[in-house]
Every structure is written in structure tokens, then in C-alpha cells.
Symmetry: C2
Subunit: 477 residues, 2 copies
């Protein structure tokens, strides 16, 4: 990103004014459009607010921009010799569209991470950089010769990777599949998106866990779906709840994250899994099993997936490398009946014409080359250590303020505040103190919860972050 | 893909029966679902139809599948001890969804390319493998050390690539931009998709060229847009047509491919470009400039893009490496006002969580390392030779049957048949003879046209392909 150059003679404010003028001239800020607030621009350029004020002053003086009380700073129109009617009203365009923007909380957190990369990040459900197999990937790229075709890939995904995944899923998770039943996607996110766009119609009723990561995804609302909730306890959701919901609303699909559920960390018990499969099959309702975490299982044999227990092809299974190797590979997979795979493959072609073969080729070498076992072994050990640090930190620092369950896998601890808390205010106070978490309401739960991820912050940041969080909580009283 | 193993003792039909049974057991073909037709399965496995008939016979005998006259072969239900009610009716799911499937013609052509990879391909608008910079990419991967973070990328795309593109676009196309006005996308396709999903609402009127590549994209219909046509002649569309259309329908956006238009190859004249920009600005209508081909310009200076002439930020510019370097990199870009870039970036995160950094890092080294100039030089030379071969072939072989204009860039020749032709029947006859093209009606034109791409077939295939095509045309009388 452009930053002012402190080594040259031209004053910083002047550099900024020139930079903004250039962006205006290039059409990045068309006549009539809003400029970033002084604070925001100052933060993103790493300068004092007063410098930005000077820069804006300069541009105002030359008639390029104008400010009005309450409506911020805008690019003037008259300067360009055109009337307000003569440019598109971009505001109405960006506020239109059937696809809804992300939740304000999510956008706020993302923006904060962008402008304050030093914040202690309990919000991102992502591994820290040191947990990625960086060295292995670098070595793969250099030692394996890329001999693949650089044309469009097979629309269902790179065939050798799908073959490798068949063996991987069988060995690691006892899931049986063939390469023709697998669609390679840009992470789990794309699988979920394709399902909501292609298999469900506006007005369809679907059931999700409460709380649920799905609740944080506007894609469900964008697709016009009606969401019904299946409350989660220590053993996951209760399959019998589906019966009444279905009788009343004709549930068309279930979206579940049975193992180390996001955000609660709970595992659907084997008994409930069996019962769930039987009820869903009885009622003819497909289950989407979102399974990012099973292989993170900190100790012993990971819990079985629904897919491995499914006898009737009711389960659409979604997995990915994002939480167990590296999110930046953007490699996920969907296992589904042939008719579903064909439909989704066709739609994905229309949306983005498929994935680049290069990261798929990397993922294939990574898994087929036997690197995964080592990666997952180290990852489990590190995640367990981080979970332990977070738990003892929560205990020591937050004390009676929060209660939580010990997760046996995944990346999150789900905390309940032992008194009333206003999500918005608490996040605000936390941001002021340089620490981030995700408020519980993002996942559709009542206020008074937070999701604290232990995967992203470094070990040595965890206690400091919690202290800042505790301060925020105290302030918020 | 799985193929029967001819080196083992087990008979081929038995291997196929076992393979199908395995797929049924794994849920790939759930109880009640349709199996591929005998012909289709035989084609895709590379065996005789009689072998598949034997395999299906075997499965029918064991009660796993059943056939009914006229409704093909299905997986039986009773075998699995469940009643029809007890599994999801996948057919209703895959036929639902707001996102529409590809046009039957397109699916037919894709399927044919998949099962008969030896066909001579005048249909794909893609470069042949030898035109990709294969050696350079392979060398880049091995010699440059990948030191990038393997986490989620910047939602707007890899920052060094955006900075490189600013210089690239300035040097190659006189387009001025800053890295903050660029969104890296999975090819042009994703830019178009994001625009239709996020900036337009169902019922909005948009205008496209007639004929137009856009017409072949069901995403416009999926988004509920009303499409109006701007007929194209030798100098492109006529800007004055917009005025009447707008008066009647309130046009919200224009989707145009001004240089070497797909499918006609025509170039919007400079005079019309200027007039277009003035009318669009006057009426406040944004223009989406889809620009995959400008840099393929066979001789002399490429024609100017609209974006380089745009003074009011009216133009959303879409480019990509697909047609000028390699489609399999899946690297495209959108240049747009800040408000639009933010909106689309947010939506893309929800759809697929952004692109992998690896191909972006490759693309950056490819462009910044000065490899592009050499690539485009060789590409122009090869494309011109192929165009010449196709033109002389059309002249010698098809003679008076077709007329066409000589394209000065791009990948296609747009042919008009000099008599009535039934698109569907002609394609059918062509497929029988192992040659593929895209019928004109796919692009919204009247019957009696075809798009013949010269980029994909090898030089030595072109005349043979045309002979087969001519045979098909004769047969179709």
C-alpha cells in the first residue's frame, strides 16, 4: 500500500494531498463520492490526524474536495464541469444487489485488523503463521517440477488431488469416496456458498445449530433462506428437535458442524449422531456436514464424522486444509452424490471458472508426499498448548467473570459472561485496548457470550491479551 | 479418472460392475438416483457399449439397480430396506436454487470435450497449450523462493501484484490507477459475477452488445436482470442506441467488450468510444468494460480502451491474464471506484474467502520480471498465423457457404452462413465428425452464425477440422 515517503523533501501532508488528487483524477473517487474520514486515513497511512487535516485543507483550497458538517468530505462536482446528474450514483449501486454485505461486527473487526495489525487477535479463526507448513510448501515449489497444463483445470478440480483425497479421507477419517464424487473448492466457504445458491430456493427453511458459525454468514440471508435453530448443549444439538421443526416448517436442509463445533467446541455424541442420521433419513432431509476441525483432535482417536456413519448418501460432506494446514492454499472439498456434484461444478464454472491448478498441485504433493502426518502431529501439540494457556489465563485473569467448557479440538473457546454485557460496547473497549474477539451475537446467541480463538495469537501474547480484555470488561461495567 | 485395468484377469465388465457398486455404496448414487446412460458411461470409460450393458446386467441381476423403459437405469430402493420417502429427493434439490445452470449448448460442448478429448476444438475460447508461458512459469516456481505468508490473503488481492499491475496497465494500456483501486479476481468471470450479484438488483435493465458473450452467461438471468440489446456492426455498437433504450427502460448498466469483441471481433471506433463515454456520463450510466483481448492486437498499436479515455470514473474495467498468458493462473483484475471495490471485496470474501496467494505470487513475478513482453510478442505472431490459416481454410474449403470479417485481434472469427442453418442439427453433425464450434444463438444472435476460435486447435488441425465442419454442413442440408 502507498505510504508517504519520509526520506524526500516534499512535506508529508503535500504528498498525501497529491496522492488523493491522483486517486480522484483516476476515477477511484469519482465526483460526488465520499473520501475516507480523517481518522481512518491517518490510521491507514500511519500519520497523525493533523497531517491529514492539512492535506484535506490543501485540496479544499484548490476546490477539488468539499466538506459539509455531518456528511464528511466529498469530491466536488463543479470542478469537473459536470452536474450531479452526469455521473452514476455509486451509492445506490453499492447499496443494491441481492448479495448482502458482511455483518457490521465482522467488517469492524476486519477493518481493525487491517489498520492495526499489531492488535492481539482472538477473533480470527485462523492458525498463526508459525503453524503453517511454510518450509514444506517452499521446498515443494522448488524441488517438484511443475509439468501441468496451464489451461483451465478440470471443472471438478485437479484429478490427481481428488485421487489423493480419496485415500486421505479413507485413511484419516474412514470416509469412503471415489474421485468422481469429490469437488475441489476454494475452502469450505465456497462449498457452503454453492449449496445455498444451487440447491435451495428463496423461502426454503433450513436448520442450523444455535449458536452457529452459519449464522454469521449473510449468504444464507442473501439466498432468502429461513433459518431455524437447533440449540447446542455439551453433546451438540438434539436430533429430536428436528422432528418438531420439520412438522412445522418443512425443513429442507440441515447445516451442522458436529465435531468441535464452531463456536462452542462441543462434539455431537455418537449416540446423537446415529439418531440424527436415522431421523434425517426417515424425513428425507439432507445434512450438510461442515467439518473443518475433526483432525485437530488434541488427543486420541478423533470422533467419527457423520459421513463415515452415513449409509444412505444423505450427508454432503465439506472439508478443507484451511484449519489443519494453511488457509492460504484455499483448498477445500465437497463429497456429494453425483447429481449434486454436477450441478455445483457447473455453477462454479460460471462464478469463477474454477481454481488455479498451481495450489491444487501443491496440496496434492503435500498430502501424497506424506507431509500431512507430521504437520497434524505438530499442529495438535501446539494447539493443545495454546488452548491450555488460554484456559489457565482465563482462569487466572478473568476469574469468576466468565465460564467455559474445555474444548478437545478446534480453535475456539466459547465463553459465557457471568453478568450482563453489551457486545458492541465491550468490543469497542477491547479495540481501544488493542485486543480483538468475536461477540457471541455474531453466532446468533443471546448477548453475553464471546468466542475467543487461541490459534492466531502467539503463545506469549495470550496472557497480555486477556489482561487487556479484562480491563475492557471492567471499563464496560 | 477411474478406468478399467486391462492388465488384470478380472473381466472388464465385472470391474465396471464392481466400480459402480462401490460408488452406489459410498452414496455417490443414492437409492432412487439415475445412473449414466450406457452410451455415456461407455464413452467416458473408453469401452464398448456392450461391455457396459453386461455390467449393468450384472448389477440388475443382484437387485442393486433397475431399469424401466424410457426412464433409464436407477439405483433400487428396496434393496436398501428403505422406502422412497426415506431419502432426499435429490432431483428436486438440483433443479432448485436461484443460480441457473449453463445453457444446454455449452454443457453439450463441454461434455463432448471431456469424453472425446481428441476432437478438433474450434469451440473453446482458450489458447492452445503451446501458447502458454509454460517454461517461464516452471522456472519461476523453481528459482524464486516463496517466502509469503500462507494465511488468508489481503481480501483485495496480493498487494505486490496490485502494485505491479498499476505499472503494467500504465505502460501497456495507458490506464491510470492505484493499487487501492484494483481487485484481483479469479479471471474476468469472477468480476462479472460480482458485479451482477452486488451492484444490480432483480428487475434492473442492463444493455449488452448483440451478439455478445454476456448472452451466453446465465448469471445475468440468475440475477434477475432484464437484458436489452445494442446491435454490433463493423465498428461495434452504436452509442446513440443507448439513448432510446434508456428512455424506455432506464438502463442501469452497460456491459461492453469494445476491443476485438467476443464473438464478432469488431473494434469500437475511436469516434464511437468518445461518443459512448459522453452519452453514458450524460445519462449517469456506468459502463463495464470487459477487456480480455486488447493486448492480442496482431499488428501496430492496440486500440485504446474506454478506461484510458474515461475522465469521470464511469468505467469499471475488467482485464485478465487468461487470453494473453495462461487461463489456468486464474488471475484477473477489476479497476473501479473505491466504493465499488470495497463492496465487491466484502462479497467475494463471503463466496470463497479470496484467492490463493501462490498463483498471484507467480503472476507477479511473471509480469514484474519482464517476461510479459516476450510472451505477448510470440503470442501475437502465433495468433496471427492461426487466424490466417483459419481464414484461408474457410475460403478454400467452405467457399461461398460462409462470409466473415477479418479480425485484427482476439481469438475468434464470426461466420455467417449464406443459407438457413439449424444450429442444433449442425452441431450434432459436427460432433459426429469429431469437430466442435459454438453456434451463434449462444451469443443471442439469430440462427445462421457460428463462432470459430482459432486459438485452441493446432495449426495442422485447422484445415482438417474445417473439412469435417464442411462435411457436417453438407450433411445437414
Amino acid at each position: 500500500m502507498w505510504k508517504p515517503d519520509r526520506s524526500v523533501k516534499k512535506p508529508i501532508y503535500q504528498q498525501i494531498a497529491d496522492y488523493i488528487e491522483r486517486r480522484i483524477t483516476f476515477g477511484e473517487f469519482p465526483p460526488g463520492s465520499s473520501l475516507p474520514s480523517e481518522r481512518k486515513l491517518a490510521d491507514s497511512l500511519g500519520v497523525n490526524r493533523s497531517t491529514v487535516i492539512l492535506a484535506y485543507e490543501e485540496l479544499r483550497a484548490s476546490g477539488i474536495i468539499e466538506s459539509a458538517k455531518g456528511s464528511g468530505t466529498r469530491v466536488t462536482r463543479h470542478k469537473w464541469g459536470i452536474t450531479p446528474k452526469q455521473t452514476p450514483n455509486w451509492k445506490t449501486y453499492v447499496e443494491g444487489g441481492t448479495f448482502l454485505p458482511n455483518l457490521p461486527f465482522i467488517r469492524r473487526i476486519r477493518e481493525e485488523l487491517r489498520i492495526a495489525p499489531g492488535a492481539i487477535d482472538f477473533a480470527s479463526g485462523e492458525l498463526s503463521t508459525d503453524l503453517f507448513p511454510n518450509d514444506i510448501i517452499r521446498e515443494l515449489l522448488q524441488t517438484k517440477s511443475f509439468q501441468e497444463d496451464l489451461g483451465y483445470d478440470d471443472p471438478q478440480g485437479y484429478s490427481p488431488l481428488r485421487e489423493t483425497l480419496v485415500r486421505f479421507l479413507e485413511t484419516q477419517l474412514h470416509i469412503q469416496s471415489t474421485e468422481s464424487s469429490i469437488l475441489i473448492t476454494s475452502g469450505s466457504q465456497q462449498s457452503l456458498y454453492l449449496i445455498t445458491q444451487c440447491l435451495l430456493s428463496p423461502g426454503d427453511a433450513v436448520a442450523i445449530e444455535d449458536p452457529s458459525y452459519c449464522y454469521s454468514l449473510p449468504m444464507f440471508q442473501s439466498a432468502g433462506l429461513r433459518l431455524f435453530r437447533l440449540p447446542v448443549d455439551d453433546e451438540g444439538m438434539n436430533p429430536d428437535d428436528i422432528i418438531a421443526l420439520h412438522r412445522q416448517h418443512r425443513i429442507r436442509m440441515l447445516f451442522l458442524n458436529p465435531n468441535f463445533q464452531n463456536p462452542t467446541g462441543s462434539v455431537l455424541s455418537l449416540e446423537r449422531k446415529t439418531r440424527l442420521l436415522s431421523i434425517a433419513s426417515e424425513l428425507g432431509i439432507p445434512i450438510v456436514e461442515d467439518d473443518p476441525f475433526t483432525l485437530t483432535s488434541f488427543e486420541g482417536t478423533p470422533p467419527p464424522t457423520l459421513k463415515s456413519l452415513d449409509k444412505t448418501g444423505n450427508v454432503l460432506y465439506i472439508g478443507s486444509l484451511s484449519k489443519i494446514a494453511a488457509s492460504g492454499l484455499r483448498i477445500g472439498w465437497l463429497i456429494a452424490p453425483q447429481a449434486v456434484v454436477s450441478r455445483l461444478t457447473d455453477a462454479r464454472q460460471q462464478m469463477d471458472f474454477g481454481l488455479s491448478r498451481i495450489p491444487q498441485w501443491v496440496a496434492n504433493h503435500f498430502i501424497a508426499g506424506g507431509h500431512f502426518e507430521n504437520q497434524i502431529h505438530l499442529l495438535r501439540k501446539s494447539l493443545k498448548l495454546k488452548r491450555d494457556s488460554l484456559m489457565s489465563g482465563l482462569h487466572d485473569i478473568m476469574g469468576d467473570s466468565v465460564s467455559f467448557m474445555e474444548p478437545q479440538g478446534g480453535l475456539n473457546i466459547w465463553c459465557k459472561f457471568n453478568r450482563e454485557v453489551d457486545d458492541f460496547k465491550l468490543l469497542d473497549e477491547a479495540i481501544k485496548r488493542g485486543v480483538l474477539f468475536v461477540p457471541g451475537s455474531v453466532y446468533g446467541s443471546d448477548q453475553g457470550h464471546m468466542r475467543v480463538s487461541f490459534a492466531r495469537p502467539r503463545q506469549d501474547e495470550i496472557r497480555q491479551g486477556l489482561a487487556q480484555l479484562y480491563e475492557a470488561l471492567q471499563e464496560h461495567k
